[in-house]
Symmetry: C2
Subunit: 243 residues, 2 copies
C-alpha cells in the first residue's frame, strides 16, 4: 500500500479538490483506494456525497467505518460533518493507525488523506499516517511564501516520524493560463524545485465548483472538462512515479 | 475603540485581503487603526512590508510592539513571520488583551484582527479580543457549507466570551461577475442572511495578487482598480454601520 497526504497550511489552494480527484482517479485506473477526510470542515466528505451507491454493500472487517463510493473506492467521512467538533478535540491517531493497518491487510493499494489548513493535531495526524506528502500550491504570492514554511514543517515531521513526511512533489493548482503572473510563478517553481515539481498543472476550471455542488468529482460530473483532463494527467504521473 | 476580527475556518476566502484593505481604508478615512496579525502564516504582515516608511518614528508606550505603516496606521506583526512557530505554541491572550487596552487608552479608533483558517487557539484569540466579527465568504459550495459551521462557532464564542463574537456581517469575496453560479449563490446569501449580508461585494481582481507581491494594499498600489473601489465601498459601509 502506498500512502499520500494532501497538506498545506495555506488555505484554499486545492487540497480537497486534489485529494478527491486523485483518489477517484486511482480507483478508475483499477487500483483499490481509501480516502480519509481528516479535515473537521469535512469538505471532501461533502464533495463526494453524490457518489454513494443506492444499494450500499455491507462494509465488513477493516471497511466497517468506511463508506463505499463504488467498486474499489472507500472513504472515512470527516468527524466534523455531522457536528461542529469542539476545538479541543484531537484525532485518535492510534485508532486511525489501526484502521490503516487493517486496510493494508485487506489489500488496499492506495491511501489518500485530506488535511485541514493549519498544521494542527489533525494536520499532523495526516503526516503521521502517510509515507508521502503531495503539496498543492496556488501560483500566487502568499502561497509561495507559505511553501517555504511548509517545507520546514515537513523536515521537522520527518525527524519526529521516521519514514513519513517524504515530499512526493508540489503540484501547481488554480492556474489561469491567461495570467502573466501565474506563468512567472510557475517558471520560478520549476527552477527552484526542479524534479520535485509535478509536470502536471491543474488549470482553473469553473466546472470544479459545479461538480462539488452536485457531490461528484469531475470524472463523474463532466469527464471531458479541462479539470478532469488535468487530474487525469496527475493520476498517470503518480502511478508512474510511485511504481 | 471599535474592534473587528476577520475569521472563517474555510481557507483562502479573502480574510487577509479584507483585513489589510479594511484597516488601511479606515486609516485613509482619517481614523487611527491598529491591525493585529494573529495568523502564524503571517500573510498580513508580509502583504504590508512595502508600506513601512523609511524613517520609522520611534514607537513608544502602547505602540512599542507595533510597526508604523504611515501616519495613523499601526500593525502587530505575526509571531510566525520570522520563525516557524511550533504547533504547540499558543497565543498569550493576557498579553494581547493588555496591549489592546493600552491601544484603547492611547485613543486608537479601530482594532482589526486577521485570523488563521481553522478556529484553533489563534482563531479563538481573535474572537476574544474583538467585539465584532466580519466573515468573508467566497461564493462557492464548500465556503457556503462552512458558513453554517462558522455561525455555530460564533454562537458558542458569544457564550464563552460575553460581549464578543457579534456578527458585523458577511461579505462576499472573489466574486466573478461572469460566473452564473456566483450570482445564484449571492442571491441565496442575501435571502438567507438579509441585513447580515454586507451590501458591498468584492469582485475578483488580479491586481490584488500583484499588489501583495509588492507589499502594498490596492489603495497604494493601484487606487483606480476594481478591487480598490470595492474595498472603498466596504470601508464606507463599516464606518456608517458602526457609527
Ligand atoms: N482548478 C480549479 N479551478 C477552479 N476552482 C477550483 C480549482 N481547484 C479548486 N477549486 C475551488 O477553489 C476552492 C478551494 O479549493 P479547495 O477547497 O479544494 O482548497 P483547500 O486547500 O482544500 O481549502 P481549505 O484550506 O479550506 O481546506 C473550492 O471552491 C474549489 O471548488
Ligand atoms: N477579490 C480578489 N480578487 C482576486 N484575488 C483575490 C481577491 N481576494 C483575495 N485574493 C487572492 O486570493 C488568495 C487568497 O486570499 P487571502 O490569502 O486573503 O485569503 P485568506 O482567507 O486570508 O487565506 P487563509 O485561509 O490561508 O488565511 C490570495 O492570493 C489573494 O491575493
Ligand atoms: Mg480542504
Ligand atoms: Mg489569511
Amino acid at each position: 500500500m502506498r500512502s499520500i497526504a494532501l497538506a498545506n497550511q495555506k488555505g484554499g489552494v486545492g487540497k480537497t479538490t486534489t485529494a478527491i480527484h486523485l483518489a477517484h482517479g486511482l480507483a478508475l485506473a483499477g487500483d483499490s483506494v481509501a480516502l480519509l477526510d481528516l479535515d473537521p470542515q469535512g469538505n471532501a466528505t461533502l464533495a463526494l456525497q453524490g457518489m454513494i451507491p443506492d444499494d450500499e454493500p455491507d462494509a465488513e472487517g477493516a471497511f466497517e467505518a468506511l463508506q463505499n463510493l463504488g467498486s474499489n473506492f472507500w472513504m472515512l467521512p470527516s468527524p466534523g460533518v455531522h457536528r461542529n467538533i469542539d476545538r479541543r478535540t484531537v484525532p485518535d491517531v492510534k485508532k486511525l493507525a489501526t484502521l490503516v493497518e487493517g486496510l493494508r491487510g485487506a489489500g488496499i493499494d492506495w491511501l489518500v488523506v485530506d488535511c485541514p489548513p493549519r498544521m494542527d493535531a489533525w494536520g499532523y495526524a495526516g503526516l503521521e499516517l502517510c509515507e508521502h506528502v503531495l503539496l498543492p500550491v496556488q501560483a500566487e504570492f502568499f502561497a509561495m511564501h507559505g511553501l517555504s514554511q511548509m517545507m520546514q514543517t515537513l523536515a521537522s515531521a520527518r525527524k519526529q516520524f521516521p519514514g513519513r513526511g517524504n515530499l512526493l512533489g508540489v503540484v501547481a493548482t488554480l492556474v489561469d493560463g491567461r495570467e502573466e503572473i501565474a506563468r512567472e510563478v510557475l517558471d520560478d517553481l520549476r527552477e527552484n524545485l526542479a524534479d520535485k515539481m509535478m509536470r502536471s498543472v491543474i488549470l482553473r476550471d469553473l466546472s470544479f465548483v459545479e461538480a462539488a455542488s452536485h457531490g461528484k468529482t469531475l470524472f463523474d460530473y463532466r469527464i471531458d472538462s479541462k479539470g478532469a483532463l488535468c487530474y487525469g494527467s496527475l493520476v498517470r504521473e503518480v502511478l508512474d512515479g510511485c511504481a
